[in-house]
């Protein structure tokens, strides 16, 4: 944290109104927001999806996405009125004095050009450096961003570099013209927690070194607490409140902000571990993989009735592959899966209809998990019709019951298409579809990671309620340890296809840990603004000792 109140004002936005076009009419997205940013200051913009964070961030560059327009207000960037400036003048600013870092570096880099070519483009275009100077400068910035092999990494293509490194390379690229302002649009959302730390630390350092002002957009409060000097909370295009980071974290004024802060505190009571009885699902020494490579190496775990087992790990650790083995999509090379003590056929095509019914799955992306052309009546009704043989009135009644279970009003929703629902509602339909089969066991594959925190909490509470109501066993695949904390009874930690550690949740969150579990646990951002500084110091100390 630094004191920036004495510094000159860089960006002023007054009473900004932005409209979005939908179906021939303009509807407001931003409804009169003010924003002031001083030189070298980092402002955190937080809010749920649809709150208008990105739209406001882009407007700071005098830019709107297609189908949007700035309908009112004033944007003053260092004495230049961005709304009155011509497109040529604005373009001269972009990249040179204002830069933008997008959420997914993987999707934003041009895959056909080397990183260093893309780095050099802006400085050479704006006539600041020659090509050779730009390349020397790139190596320097890659070093400052703590990228491995800074001399060589620029000569790779985007797909040859990991996600975290790509995000850092993109930040370096934004820095290439030493801009006065950088807009960061969720730069770490797509990354694993352990990778996120490196990117956060690198971004924070480089912004401080060059005294760059930044707008940091995110929905993750703990992240924004590490990065921002001040925080502004947005809700449906309106400002809720704004304060400096410490004040905002310790004493939020508005109810909405308080509810955002409270989300992470949700935790259900832990059930005592089951030691006897036959587990509902039992994975026994399973080795599986695609082609020649083994993705899963000799893993075993049990899931008991009314218990939630969280399977945790980074992307590529084999969590989802484990789910594919259980569902029968990927027959294992060795080992087997038992259901209620009896072995399941390895391939889902050989399983009986009843075996298929007993194990259901809820997907991460409800968008791709629900057929967009079917109405909810059929989406939810089909499993009930297939497995339970319900027809006509009985089927409709069952669908209505299921909708009520997931807290959606049957009359309003039964004939809707998935595209007419919000993200959280779609995920609820995914849950209802699983429930319609009246299963004993449900695999939840990252069900909350695509959702806003408040919505995700609603889903977790719903799953919890349904578990006690129907005696369900859950396998909960996630990379988010906050979710584990709130819902799990037992935890299985996976790394590179092996189970590193497993046991009841209270034990797992107590030391001593396996080194990998330790790394995972310590990488979860906390709401304390000093967390990142402290963590980096600790790790440095440890590395020094080692």
């Amino acid at each position: 944290m630094k004191d920036t109140t004495e510094k000159p004002v860089l960006l002023t936005m007054r009473d900004i109104h932005i409209d979005g076009r939908s179906e021939e009419t303009w509807s407001p997205i931003i409804k009169g927001v003010d924003l002031t940013l001083r030189k070298g200051e980092v402002l955190g913009l937080i809010g749920e999806s649809g709150a208008g964070k990105s739209t406001l961030g882009l407007a700071a560059m005098g830019f709107t996405r297609d189908g949007c327009r700035i309908s009112g207000g004033m944007i003053d960037f260092d004495g230049i009125d961005l709304r009155k400036a011509s497109e040529t003048e604005r373009r001269a600013l972009r990249g040179k004095r204002i830069a933008y870092v997008a959420q997914s570096a993987a999707a934003s880099f041009n895959p056909a050009h080397k990183l260093i070519d893309q780095y050099s483009e802006a400085p050479v275009q704006h006539g600041i450096m020659s090509r050779a100077e730009a390349e020397r400068d790139a190596v320097e910035l890659y070093r400052r961003m703590r990228l491995p092999h800074p001399e060589e990494i620029g000569f790779r293509y985007p797909h040859q570099v990991s996600g975290g490194q790509l995000q850092r390379a993109m930040t370096a690229m934004a820095m290439s013209c030493r801009p006065d302002l950088i807009v960061f649009d969720e730069p770490t959302t797509a990354l694993d927690v352990t990778t996120q730390i490196e990117v956060l630390a690198a971004i924070r350092d480089i912004v401080a070194q060059f005294d760059t002002a930044a707008i940091y957009i995110t929905h993750d409060l703990a992240v924004v607490a590490q990065m921002a000097d001040r925080i502004k909370v947005l809700l449906r295009g309106d400002e809720v409140e704004e304060a400096d980071t410490r004040t905002m974290l310790s004493a939020p004024k508005e109810d909405y902000t308080k509810s955002l802060w409270a989300v992470r505190s949700y935790a259900r009571p832990v059930q005592p571990p089951v030691t006897e009885g036959i587990p509902v699902v039992s994975v026994e020494t399973v080795t599986a993989g695609y082609g020649a490579a083994d993705i899963l190496k000799n893993i075993s775990f049990d899931i008991h009735k009314r218990r939630t087992v969280a399977v945790v790990g980074e992307s590529g650790s084999g969590k989802s592959t484990a789910a594919r083995v259980i569902t029968g999509l990927l027959p294992p090379r060795q080992g087997r899966v038992l259901f209620d003590g009896a072995p399941l056929p390895a391939d889902y095509r050989q399983r009986s209809r009843d075996q298929l019914r007993q194990a259901q799955m809820i997907y991460q992306m409800a968008d791709t998990a629900l057929n967009p052309k079917l109405r909810l009546r059929e989406l939810i009704g089909r499993p009930a019709q297939m497995y339970l043989g319900l027809q006509g009135k009985a089927l409709t009644e069952r669908i209505r019951d299921l909708l009520r279970l997931i807290e959606l009003e049957p009359d309003t929703y039964i004939d809707r298409l998935p595209s007419e629902l919000s993200g959280g509602q779609k995920q609820r339909i995914g849950i209802a579809r699983a429930l319609a089969a009246e299963p004993k066991f449900i695999i939840c594959d990252e069900v909350t990671s695509a959702l806003d925190q408040l919505v995700a909490e609603g889903i977790l509470k719903l799953l919890d309620r349904l578990q006690s109501e129907f005696d369900l066993a859950y396998m909960f695949i996630t990379h988010d340890l906050a979710t584990v904390r709130s819902i799990a009874d037992e935890v299985v930690v996976m790394q590179n296809g092996r189970v590193v550690e497993q046991g009841p949740k209270p034990e797992m969150f107590q030391p001593p840990h396996d080194p990998y579990t330790e790394l995972l646990l310590s990488s979860v951002p906390e709401m304390d603004p000093d967390w990142l500084t402290r963590l980096l110091k600790e790790r440095e100390k440890k590395a020094g000792k080692g």
């Binding site: 297609d66 889902y348 799955m361 998990a369 079917l374 297939m386």
Partner: protein, 307 residues
């Protein structure tokens, strides 16, 4: 001066067509309700014009005997009579009424083209979706067969097959449908390949759905938009193919009225500065343009573009 007058009439024709399209769209919006009306309201004027023309062709084809002043094959006067009040577009090389034959031609040519396209789509789409869903050996075998069929130039291949199997209308339909279904197969397969990797297909497979239900309820509805758009385009190609084959003498056989053969039979008139042989050609062109207007609009809607 002549050029100016021609330009003036072209402008009038375009303005008239646009006005007709606009009126038709307004009428269609007023007569329908719900989703259809909403979709029609966003339709461009060109699509309105296209739909109007298609509707007119369909009406003419359906009610040909009521509309045509003379019978299809009736010799009503001398050969190559000029345009007058009894024979609006004159008579043809055997002395049959050109207007009547044009009207009956709509029934034959459009009807055959429609049947052919429908058959091509039924075969191509079902096999394409099946190949994408089942994959593996079935996909390999079907795809290679299609590759072989597509390697032979379509016109020469259809000439060859028609020479072997004879030139009746059912043979014509079957031959052109088979050749055209290869294109539909390729499209259906590639569209379906993008759909079968979706989570909802995985969910349906895990639910234990059979192949038929998987294809008809889960995949087909999501592949329909590009297939419908392709249907319009294919229809035009089939139309042209039939006309071309008729012109070459292996398509629709005389004395059945067909626009392609009508051009050939009366082609000699062109040398005398008479535009009559161009009328059936114009009828083909107009329908092709109209269908493409509608297809453009559908493609636009299917691609989800707003502006």
């Amino acid at each position: 001066m002549n050029v100016l007058i021609t330009l003036f009439w072209i402008a009038v024709a375009i303005a008239g067509a646009m006005a007709a399209g606009w009126l038709f769209r307004a009428a269609a919006v007023a007569l329908t309700r719900g989703g259809t009306a909403r979709a029609l309201r966003t339709a461009p004027v060109t699509a309105g014009f296209g739909m109007l023309v298609i509707l007119l062709y369909v009406l003419v084809a359906l009610f040909a005997p009521l509309i045509a002043p003379y019978a299809e094959r009736e010799v009503v006067g001398a050969q190559f009579l000029p345009w007058d009040s009894t024979h609006v577009f004159g008579t043809d090389n055997l002395g049959r009424d050109t207007l009547s034959r044009l009207i009956y031609g709509a029934r034959n040519t459009v009807g055959i083209a429609f049947a052919t396209t429908a058959l091509a789509f039924a075969m191509g789409a079902i096999l394409g979706l099946l190949a994408a869903t089942v994959g593996g050996w079935l996909d390999q075998i079907l795809s290679r067969i299609v590759d072989i069929l597509m390697a032979i130039p379509a016109l020469i291949f259809s000439l060859l097959l028609l020479t072997i199997f004879g030139t009746s209308v059912p043979t014509l339909i079957l031959v052109i449908a088979t050749i055209d279904s290869t294109r539909v197969f390729r499209l259906a397969r590639s569209v379906a390949l993008n759909i079968v990797v979706m989570d909802y297909i995985e969910a349906a497979k895990l639910r234990g759905e059979g192949l038929w239900r998987l294809i008809t309820r889960e995949i087909l509805p999501n592949a329909l938009a590009p297939l419908v758009a392709e249907f319009g385009l294919r229809f035009c190609f089939v139309f042209l193919a039939i006309s071309a084959l008729s012109f070459l003498g292996v398509g629709v056989q005389p004395p059945t009225a067909d626009w392609g053969s009508m051009v050939r039979e009366n082609a000699a008139l062109i040398t005398f500065g008479d535009v009559t042989p161009l009328l059936p050609a114009g009828a083909i062109a107009l329908l092709t343009v109209a269908v493409n207007f509608v297809v453009d609009w559908m493609l636009h809607r299917a691609s989800g573009l707003k502006e």
